[in-house]
C-alpha cells in the first residue's frame, strides 16, 4: 500500500507540475498529496524520476553464452541497471558502461552483490554474442549481455514504452542506432522509478545505488 501511495504521489506530482491533462488517476485528497510532493522532490534519491515508473520487461532473451535469460525472473530481488545500446556506438554507450564500472569500484560489497548490470543490444544485426561479450569485458566481466531477435527487441521497447529503434545511415554500409540515452535502475519491486542520463556524477550514482540496494525504492 505504501508503495502504491508513493507511486500515486509521483503520478500526481507529475500531474501537478508537468502534465496537467494526462494523468487520469487522481482520486482523492489532492491538496494533501500535492503538499507531500514538495518533500518527494526533495528526495533522498538524486537520479531522474520516471513517472510512471518503467516496468521490468517480461521477456526471455539469449545471453552472450547462448543461454536463456529471463529478464524478470533472473533479476528478481536484485537492483537491475538496464541499458539498451550497441557496440558500434562511439560515444554514449561505452561512457555509460565505463561510468557504471567506475562507480561500482567505490561501493561496499553488500551493495555490489545486489547489483546486476544488464546490457541489451539494440543492434542484433551487427552485435553477435561474441562481440557483445568482448565489448562488455572491456568494462566489467560481470556485466550481462543480451542479444534479442528483432521481434524480441521490439517487444522490450514496447514494454518500456520506448519508440522503435531507428537508424542513421553513416554511409558505406555503416549506421548509427538511435536509442534511449539513459540507464534504467530497477528496484526490487520490478519497477524503474529512476533513470540516469549521461553525465550523472559518481556521488549521485553511489547515493542512489546504495539506497536502492539496502532499502529499495520508497520515500
Amino acid at each position: 500500500v505504501r508503495k502504491y501511495l508513493a507511486i500515486q504521489a509521483f503520478a500526481l506530482l507529475a500531474a501537478a507540475l508537468l502534465l496537467p491533462a494526462c494523468s487520469g488517476d487522481d482520486d482523492d485528497e489532492e491538496p494533501a498529496t500535492r503538499s507531500a510532493t514538495v518533500e518527494i522532490i526533495d528526495s533522498k534519491f538524486k537520479g531522474v524520476l520516471a513517472s510512471p515508473p518503467f516496468p521490468k520487461p517480461e521477456v526471455v532473451l539469449t545471453d552472450t553464452e547462448g543461454e536463456p535469460f529471463d529478464v524478470r525472473a533472473d533479476t528478481e530481488g536484485r537492483v537491475l541497471l538496464l541499458y539498451l545500446g550497441y557496440t558500434h556506438c562511439p560515444d554514449i554507450c561505452p561512457t555509460h558502461m565505463a561510468d557504471i564500472d567506475a562507480v561500482m569500484q567505490d561501493l561496499p560489497p553488500d551493495v555490489t552483490e545486489k547489483l546486476q548490470v544488464v546490457f541489451v543490444t539494440t543492434d542484433p544485426e551487427r552485435d553477435t554474442p561474441e562481440r557483445v561479450r568482448e565489448w562488455l569485458d572491456l568494462f566489467n566481466e560481470d556485466f550481462i549481455g543480451l542479444i534479442p531477435t528483432q521481434d524480441q527487441l521490439d517487444q522490450v521497447l514496447r514494454n518500456l514504452s520506448m519508440q522503435p529503434i531507428t537508424k542513421t545511415d553513416l554511409g558505406g554500409g555503416a549506421y548509427a542506432v538511435n536509442h534511449a540515452a539513459y540507464v534504467l535502475a530497477y528496484a526490487d519491486d520490478n519497477s524503474a522509478h529512476l533513470v540516469y542520463p549521461l553525465g550523472v556524477t559518481r556521488d549521485v550514482w553511489a547515493n542512489d545505488l546504495t539506497l536502492l540496494a539496502r532499502e529499495g525504492f520508497s520515500q
Binding site: 528526495s43 534519491f45 531522474v48 524520476l49 560515444d91 558505406g172 542520463p197 549521461l198 556524477t201
Partner: protein
C-alpha cells in the same frame, strides 16, 4: 586555454595534443593566416573494440567566427580508417540520436568543445581494427584558417570527465524530452535541458 591545459595536466592526463600546424602554434614565421586565431587543446579519444573511435578536443578561437569543415586521417592509418565524420549527439525524447554535421561553428572570440554526449569526430570502419592506445594523426580543416594537425590517442573508454568529482554535474548536451510519461530530476542535482519538464506520453 592555458587554464584548460593546467587542468589536464593536473588531472594527470597525458594529452597527446601535438600542435604541428604552424599558424596555430604561435611560432611566428611569416605564415600570416587571416588572424591565426585558432588553437586546439584537450585532445583525447576513445575506442572500444578498435573498429570505431571518437575524438574530443577544444578549439579556441581568438579571431573571427570560423567553421571546422572536415577532418581526415594522415599517415599510415589513413588507409585503415574507412571514414571520418563529425557528429552531434542529440538527446530527444530521452532518446539519443547521432547526426552528421557538415560544419561546426567555432564562434569568434569563443570556443568549440567536442565532448562526450555532445560533438565528436568519429572514425568509422577501421579495418583491421586498431589497438587501444593507438595514436591517430588527424588534419582538421577550417573554412577560413589554415589546417591544424593533431594527434589523438584512442584510449580505452573511461569514466566521463567530471563524473568522479562530487558536486556539480556535467549537464547533458541538449535537452531531454521524455517519451515515457514524465521525468523529474530529483533534488535539483541535475541540470536538465528546458525540455525536461515537457511530457510527451507515449501511451
Amino acid at each position: 586555454m592555458k587554464r584548460n591545459w593546467m587542468k589536464w595536466i593536473a588531472a594527470g592526463v597525458t594529452v597527446p595534443a601535438l600542435l604541428l600546424a604552424t599558424a596555430a602554434c604561435g611560432d611566428d614565421d611569416d605564415d600570416d593566416d587571416a588572424d591565426g586565431g585558432l588553437s586546439v587543446s584537450g585532445v583525447s579519444g576513445q575506442t572500444a573494440l578498435g573498429d570505431v573511435g571518437s575524438v574530443y578536443l577544444t578549439i579556441e578561437n581568438e579571431g573571427e567566427t570560423d567553421y571546422l569543415v572536415s577532418a581526415r586521417v594522415l599517415g599510415d592509418l589513413a588507409e585503415q580508417v574507412g571514414d571520418v565524420q563529425h557528429h552531434e549527439v542529440v538527446t530527444q525524447g530521452g532518446s539519443m540520436e547521432m547526426r552528421e554535421i557538415e560544419k561546426m561553428e567555432i564562434p569568434g572570440n569563443g570556443s568549440l568543445e567536442l565532448k562526450r554526449g555532445g560533438y565528436h569526430i568519429m572514425l568509422l570502419d577501421i579495418d583491421p581494427p586498431i589497438e587501444q592506445g593507438t595514436q591517430v594523426e588527424l588534419e582538421l580543416t577550417f573554412e577560413n584558417n589554415d589546417p591544424i594537425e593533431i594527434v589523438a590517442e584512442l584510449g580505452a573508454p573511461s569514466e566521463q570527465d567530471g563524473v568522479g568529482m562530487n558536486g556539480s554535474m556535467t549537464p547533458m548536451h541538449g535537452s531531454m524530452t521524455p517519451m515515457h510519461g514524465s521525468m523529474t530530476p530529483m533534488h535539483g542535482s541535475m541540470t536538465p535541458g528546458a525540455g525536461m519538464a515537457t511530457a510527451t506520453p507515449a501511451r
